[in-house]
Each structure stands twice: as structure tokens, then as C-alpha cells.
Symmetry: C2
Subunit: 221 residues, 2 copies
């Protein structure tokens, strides 16, 4: 039986990790942090939590080892501890896509119909950026753009897109991107641009995946 106790401890430890992701708010926090490190207050606002509550969630995930933090001036910035954490959330999304009927309904009903066009692959976009053949449009909020973005990308947050359309050359192809495969910003931007006659497509996934693929990045700390 001595060979079973450490096994139990192992499963219990791994279960702690899964449990730490087993909460909508925490999962959302991790996705935001996949974009780059954030302060407690910024996260609280983004996810819609009180600061104290966000702090508790963050503390829990730090204790488990999913996140690490560092001080920058008065703020404490959190980030994922390791790329394997993002692999884990990616695996979770894949299971969700295939298995969870609930999630399937959301994805199928909400995301699919927005843009039937094939997204542009990262490799293809990297090549077209190098050739200068494309306008890269980052529709995330300004602070996320500042924390890191694709080379030569211009930043127009989705909410400002309608009134800033003149900043975008109409003659060139546009590739829009945002936070990741489940972020709606780029979908909506592409839909809007196409209605206005722009040649817009969407990048597959988003900024974190671009960086994870070791493709060039500008800006950030």
C-alpha cells in the first residue's frame, strides 16, 4: 500500500491545479494574462470583480503555481508562470470544443456565423508583413496593444473603429487580430470593415498564439 499513497498525493496535487482553473473568473483571468502581465486592479476591472476578490483568485493561482507575480512600482503584476499553463488552457478549449455540448452551442451559435471566411494563417501573415503587402490591424484596447503587438500593426480598438476608418488605406488588404481564438473583437472588426467595403480578413487565433509561435513582436516591457 505504500505505493498508493504517493500516487494519491500526486492525483490530489494535479486535481488542485485543475480546480484552480475550475472557475469562470479564474479562467478569464488566465486568458487576459496570456496577453501579458497585468496588475490586480486592471484584472479586477477587466473581469468585473472587486479588487479584493480578484486578489484572492490571483493568490490562489499563484499558490498552486499557475501564476507568478512581480512588483513594478506600486503595482503587483501577475503573469502565467510557464508556457505549459497556456498549453493547459488550450487543451481545455479543445476538449470543450469537442465534448461539452453547452460550449459547442455557444461556439457554434455565436462565433461561427460571424465570419465564414478562412482566417489567415500565422505563417502566411508573417510572410506578407515582411513583404509589406498588408495592413495589420490590432483591435484590442490600447493598453494591451502597448504591452506587445505584431510588427507594423496599427492599433484601433474596436469601439473606435467606425470613426477612425479613414486611418486605414482602402486599397490594401487588412488582417485584423485580437486576443485569441475566442475573442470576438477581430470577428466584429472584420464584419464591420467588410460592410464598409474593405478587404478584411482575420488572423487565426490572436496575439498570444503569435508570440507563442516565436514570431516577431514589437512593443511591451
Amino acid at each position: 500500500m505504500s505505493s498508493r499513497n504517493p500516487k494519491r498525493a500526486l492525483f490530489a496535487g494535479l486535481a488542485e491545479i485543475a480546480k484552480a482553473l475550475g472557475h469562470g473568473h479564474r479562467l478569464e483571468i488566465v486568458e487576459v494574462l496570456a496577453q501579458g502581465e497585468r496588475s490586480v486592479e486592471a484584472l479586477a476591472e477587466h473581469v468585473g470583480l472587486s479588487v479584493a476578490n480578484a486578489s484572492q483568485h490571483l493568490r490562489l493561482m499563484r499558490r498552486i503555481g499557475l501564476l507568478v507575480s512581480r512588483r513594478d512600482g506600486k503595482r503587483i503584476l501577475y503573469r502565467p508562470s510557464d508556457p505549459s499553463v497556456l498549453d493547459l488552457t488550450a487543451a481545455l478549449r479543445r476538449v470543450g470544443e469537442r465534448n461539452a455540448a453547452e460550449v459547442r452551442a455557444v461556439i457554434g451559435g455565436y462565433f461561427r456565423q460571424r465570419d465564414a471566411l478562412e482566417p489567415v494563417s500565422r505563417r502566411e501573415l508573417a510572410r506578407r508583413i515582411k513583404d509589406g503587402l498588408v495592413t495589420v490591424l490590432d483591435v484590442r484596447p490600447t493598453d494591451e496593444f502597448a504591452a506587445g503587438h505584431l510588427p507594423r500593426a496599427i492599433n484601433i480598438p474596436l469601439r473606435q473603429l467606425t470613426r477612425r476608418l479613414r486611418e486605414i488605406p482602402k486599397s490594401r488588404a487588412i488582417v485584423a487580430y485580437c486576443r485569441g481564438p475566442y475573442c470576438v473583437l477581430a470577428y466584429e472588426a472584420v464584419a464591420l470593415l467588410r460592410r464598409r467595403g474593405f478587404k478584411a480578413r482575420r488572423l487565426e487565433d490572436g496575439f498570444p498564439e503569435w508570440r507563442a509561435a516565436c514570431l516577431p513582436v514589437e512593443g511591451g516591457g
Copy 2:
């Protein structure tokens, strides 16, 4: 704000999946099921739960979509719904290896020191099996062996190994395997065999990974 509600629903749905793995017993159940389908009663006994309790855990994971079940005679057999579920548990293990101090301690203290020798890779073992140069030893319990095993493998459960040593030719190299990277059976078998003068090594990972790699398998339903 209408773009946030489905997002919340998505994260909530994914969190349900993570929560379903956020329990040591459920995680252990999934690992057992990675070996092949099992009845409720068999799982309950294996994990050390009452049948009713095991049934509840199974029902939960089936509801979430991690498991599916089918009837076979009087029994109901459960299995993982999809390979992506095993990918998810693998990602969980990787995070655990790198991040969770608790788990690191267990792995480092318990598993590492057992067999400093390099394990035999699947590819290498597949080749040596084909050449007939090696004794393949399956040290899992008999029922798990019956549900599927490596070609030409002989089955001696770890507990019987000491008294059945004479069944193993001492002249040939032995490769032992068990359930997977965190199963201790093969580690202990190799340690025991080496003390008795056998040339024993361990297969990397275990049976589920062998099957997942689409390498030949014997037995099972």
C-alpha cells in the same frame, strides 16, 4: 455588453470541464479509463470508493462530456469520450511537473530515485519486439493486461513477480511497462529485477501512450 455574456458562458462552460477534473478520485478514474473501458464496480474497487460514490463521479464526468458509457450485459462500461480528454490530462501533468511545488516534491522524491536508467523509447522497443530480441513484461494487474497489451508481452503482476521470477529468461534483456508515466509498477519491477541480476529497463510512459502512438496492440475487446 452583449459580446460579454456569451464569453462568460464560454468560460463558465470550460470551467465546468476543469472542475470535473478537479478532484483526485476523478482524475484517478480518468487515468484508469485511459487503459480501457471499465465498469462502475471495477472502477469503484480500483480507486477505493463506494459504488454509489463512483457512480456519482462518473455521472458528473459523463454529463460534462469527459466520459461516455455503453452497456455490456448487466454492466455499464465507461471510457473517455475522446482522445482530447487524455491530451488534457497530459497537459495537466506537464503543468504539475513544472509548476506545482507540491507535485514536484512527490515526483522528485518518489519517482526519480527509483530508476536512474534511461527508459527505452517506444520506437526502440517496437523494433526490438519485431526482432524478437527482448522479453516484454507487463506488470499491471491481470484484468488490465487482458484489456489490451503490447505484442508478445508476458503478464506478471508486480505482487507476484518475486515468486514467478523463474518464468523470465535471465539471458535476455527485459523491458517492463505499466500504466503510464506516473505509475510506479514498472519502476518497482525494474528495481526488483535488477537486484536479482536481470537486465531490466523500463518503457517510457506506459500502455495508453503506446496505444495512442498507434503501435501494435494485442488482446482487449
